[in-house]
């Protein structure tokens, strides 16, 4: 995978995805080693995303790589009106790999075509965030021991949630059964359901999940944001339906784990945190190993 970019999860074949996950497993055993010594990696965050940036920087630092970049475009040349084209062509000269977050959709694909070094998309607007998807896959495989034939519950905002769309598309490679639980206004868009129909995969849609929770292998929670509702009364009606509480977990499978891309607001009650089925903070840690695997793989080091 040397010198390739990672813009969209579809850029990688199933074999390549599994190779990244295997590599991430190796890094989990030995997260601190000096294999990126002498490498300079640019982290260009045209919009702030502290969590993703820290995860990348931690991943790179632990491997001895050096980081240049910015965490907010307001104090960079972008605020002077520089085009993305020029920023990339310049930064390109200073580094071996670019990690980029940008609010405009398609910006990462464009950057990958301009840059002579690999580009990792750390989120381009509402479009793609493939390193999140890979760390989700890693977390699922690690907790379930496999990716095949799982029953995945996706809960909350399924209409605008970029992470659930990407994860759904990726998991559709492994004969997954999906349960989509969302308020009417935030249902999974038709184009994604059509995608599953074409693959012949099973999915079910619900407005509530207390009755069916015992079937889940993975519960993937997302935030239901007030500003997504055209009618505030609708939000008030549904906001508590999509909150996971410890009392709801009694009859769940022993292997079941709860994932969340974070940040969480109130959709997972804090009383869940001490339940061994709560996995979202470990999931964030897995992000470091997965990103180590991606960076080293694209640099041709591993």
């Amino acid at each position: 995978m040397k010198n390739r970019s990672l813009v969209s999860i579809d850029d990688f074949s199933t074999e390549e995805i599994l190779r990244i996950l295997d590599l991430a497993e190796e890094f989990e055993k030995e997260p601190t080693q000096k294999i990126l010594e002498g490498k300079v990696i640019a982290t260009l965050f045209f919009e702030p995303s502290t969590r993703t940036r820290l995860s990348f920087e931690s991943a790179i630092n632990r491997l001895g790589g050096k980081i240049v970049g910015f965490s907010d475009s307001s104090n960079s040349s972008v605020s002077k009106g520089e085009t993305l084209n020029d920023t990339i062509l310049t930064v390109n000269n200073y580094c071996d790999l670019i990690v980029m977050r940008h609010p405009i959709e398609g910006s990462a694909r464009y950057a990958s075509e301009i840059a002579s070094v690999p580009v990792i998309n750390a989120g381009d607007g509402a479009n793609q965030h493939p390193t999140q998807t890979l760390l989700d896959l890693y977390s699922i495989r690690k907790t379930q021991g496999r990716l095949d034939d799982l029953n995945i519950f996706m809960v909350g905002d399924l209409k605008y949630g970029r992470t659930v769309h990407s994860l759904m598309m990726a998991m559709s490679r492994w004969n997954t059964t999906f349960n989509f639980i969302s308020p009417e206004e935030l249902k999974m868009p038709d184009e994604f359901k059509l995608y599953l129909d074409n693959l012949g995969l099973k999915y079910y849609e619900h407005n509530d999940f207390t009755d069916i929770i015992s079937k889940a292998d993975i519960i993937y929670m997302t935030r239901v944001q007030k500003e997504r509702f055209s009618d505030p009364i609708e939000y008030e009606k549904v906001k508590n339906v999509y909150v996971l509480r410890n009392s709801m977990l009694k009859n769940t499978k022993p292997n079941m784990r709860i994932l969340h891309p974070l940040p969480r607001v109130n959709e997972i009650h804090q009383d869940v945190d001490n339940n061994p089925k709560a996995y979202y903070f470990e999931q964030a840690l897995n992000g470091v190993y997965t990103r180590q695997a991606i960076v080293c793989s694209l640099l041709g080091i591993k």
Partner: protein, 152 residues
Amino acid sequence: MKEAKQMSVSAIQNGTVIDHVPARNLFKVIQILGLDRIDNQITFGTNLESKKLGRKAIIKISGVFFEDEDINRIALVAPDAKLNIIKDYEVVEKKVVVVPDYIVGIAKCMNPKCITNFESVITRFKVVSKKNVSLKCHYCEKITTQENMQII
């Protein structure tokens, strides 16, 4: 040669006739095919009566024979166009326009948050539906449907 019918646009000896172009898209066809930048003789008529299109345009280009992949680029603006290849005043071949698998340039991505609407990027699309043409943007991965399609 049969007499009677008078032609609105005079015949050519050798070249290509593009018929059944929607009148409103005549100049887009000219632009896409780069006819405004060549030295060949070109005659065209527009707002001609057409049972099928209402008002159509016709373009006759002397001494030019298009490759299929070039001519298919007009499929977005003139999907019903018919081509007659003329040699020595006779039609020697007829062609229709086929929607290609990929479209480079020509159309605008309808997603206002797409990079192609912010920087000078040549648009690129994969054609995901040919019947009711819809295009998937190579950059933002959003779909532009026929109703929302704007020609650059």
